[in-house]
Amino acid sequence: MKIDRPLTSRQIFQIPALLALVSLAGLISALLGAGWWDILSWLTLGLPVAAIAWAFAARRG
């Protein structure tokens, strides 16, 4: 999966930055309460894991 034009730093870090922010939200949300806050933390902390699983399945170069 080669790219003709080199990616800019912004393009390179777009998804990683999103994953980092979402993970941080998940780490904090479960501290704030139980119930829905816990469920939110499972979904958000699960996102980086899901991204990795997706990459292994779909992004083989």
């Binding site: 912004r10 980092a20 980086p48 991204a51 990795i52 170069g61």
Partner: protein, 387 residues
């Protein structure tokens, strides 16, 4: 970024990682079962049997609990008392004196309604062994602080890893795993993908781990800073003997009346690290999810039973307190623990693949340098123009 700065960041990443990898692997491996320590201990020991009594059976006085614990372990004095959340059980820690180390302490768990002893935590089990290895490698405070330094190197390795991620990814889309080239290229892509996707979790667990290793110095600092003014009036008085202490139940009632809506987390008896020589420190917990992590120490004069002060946790004690759940991953139910375990396994793969990449490259360092130089020189003008 110039070739030179990339090279420096690359060297930082290489050396910080190399130094801490062996210890981080040990921490990840011992940490994995520790995530599930409650489940594993329950599985090994089974339910803790508690007498079936009517729900409105009143609790006995806390003074009965200290008397009972001292009767079971003659020659000891009470040091700490903690309260279970899910069972009407309290735990009394006693020892030969207030300065007793953890090895000389004995634990007595009592049913709060009957004062009958119930099974205590197993302190010699395999989970305890893993916890000791994970905390200080059986080396006490120096071991703890050493692991803290390793954690700091780990965090620097993450930061430098983020920086050197960019030059490798100029021509690869996020998540690309090249399988048609060399095995090394495949593992490099896996290392980069796993590392960049989990960096926030790894940073938080790493940093909170470092904070946890500082618990001894931070508690000492709290004693020196917050308690100094409180104990100043007592300077010329002898330290009260445990026979002179007022009733603990009375001290607890005074503390609870002063902070309505809170529940007791633990009591530190006079002379121990979490109290002063002259006070009962009753550590109260807020009643709402947002405040239950914050403890308020209420200090009760051990001779008179009068309220001396409602103290507060200074920022570093709060940081220490918050660092515990954020490191252990035990604050969001079983699904969170499972995610914690998956992320821990991912961290093991990152560490292992990093080591593999280094071993494969050793002796061929010039290749890497050439690659980085070529990348930087070739792509930099275009990349800058694009930004």
């Amino acid at each position: 970024m110039t070739t030179r700065t990339i090279r420096i960041w690359y060297l930082v990443h290489k050396w910080t990682s190399l130094i801490c990898t062996a210890f981080m692997l040990m921490l990840c491996l011992t940490g994995l079962p520790l995530i599930f320590h409650e489940e594993i201990e329950h599985w090994i020991d089974g339910d803790r049997p508690i007498a079936a009594l009517p729900a409105d059976t009143p609790f006995r006085s806390l003074d009965d609990a200290t008397a009972k614990a001292m009767a079971i372990h003659p020659g000891t004095i009470p040091l700490y008392m903690s309260f279970d959340i899910d069972q009407p059980v309290l735990n009394v820690t006693t020892g030969p004196n207030a300065a007793a180390g953890i090895k000389d302490m004995v634990f007595t768990s009592l049913d709060r309604r009957t004062m009958d002893p119930v099974r205590s935590f197993d302190d010699d089990g395999v989970m305890h062994f893993l916890l000791q290895l994970h905390t200080d490698m059986f080396l006490g405070l120096p071991g703890e602080l050493f692991l803290g330094c390793m954690g700091l190197l780990f965090v620097i390795a993450i930061i430098s890893g983020i920086v050197v991620y960019a030059p490798f990814m100029r021509r690869l889309r996020f998540g690309t795993v090249r399988t048609s080239r060399s095995i090394r290229a495949t593992w490099l892509d896996i290392h980069n993908l796993l590392g960049i996707a989990t960096l926030m979790w790894a940073s938080v667990v790493g940093l909170t781990g470092v904070v946890n290793t500082l618990s001894t110095p931070l508690v000492d600092l709290w004693r020196a800073q917050e308690l100094r003014a409180l104990v100043a009036p007592y300077r010329d008085q002898p330290v009260p003997d445990h026979r002179e202490w007022v009733s603990l139940q009375q001290a607890m009632d005074t503390a609870l009346a002063a902070a309505p809506g809170s529940t007791p987390q633990f009591v530190a008896f006079p002379g121990v690290r979490f109290s002063s020589n002259y006070h009962y420190a009753v550590w109260l917990r807020g009643a709402t999810p947002a405040t239950e992590l914050i403890y308020t120490p209420v200090l009760i004069d051990a001779r008179t039973g009068e309220l001396s002060a409602i103290s507060h946790m200074p920022w570093y004690m709060l940081a220490l307190r918050l660092s515990q759940p954020l490191h252990f991953g035990d604050y969001g139910g079983l699904p969170m623990k499972i995610l914690w375990a998956i992320l821990d396994l991912i961290a093991i793969v990152i560490l292992g693949s990093g080591l593999y990449l280094w071993l494969k490259k050793r002796g061929k360092a010039t290749d890497t340098e050439r690659f980085l130089q070529r990348r930087a020189a070739m792509l930099q003008p275009q990349a800058e123009a694009a930004e």
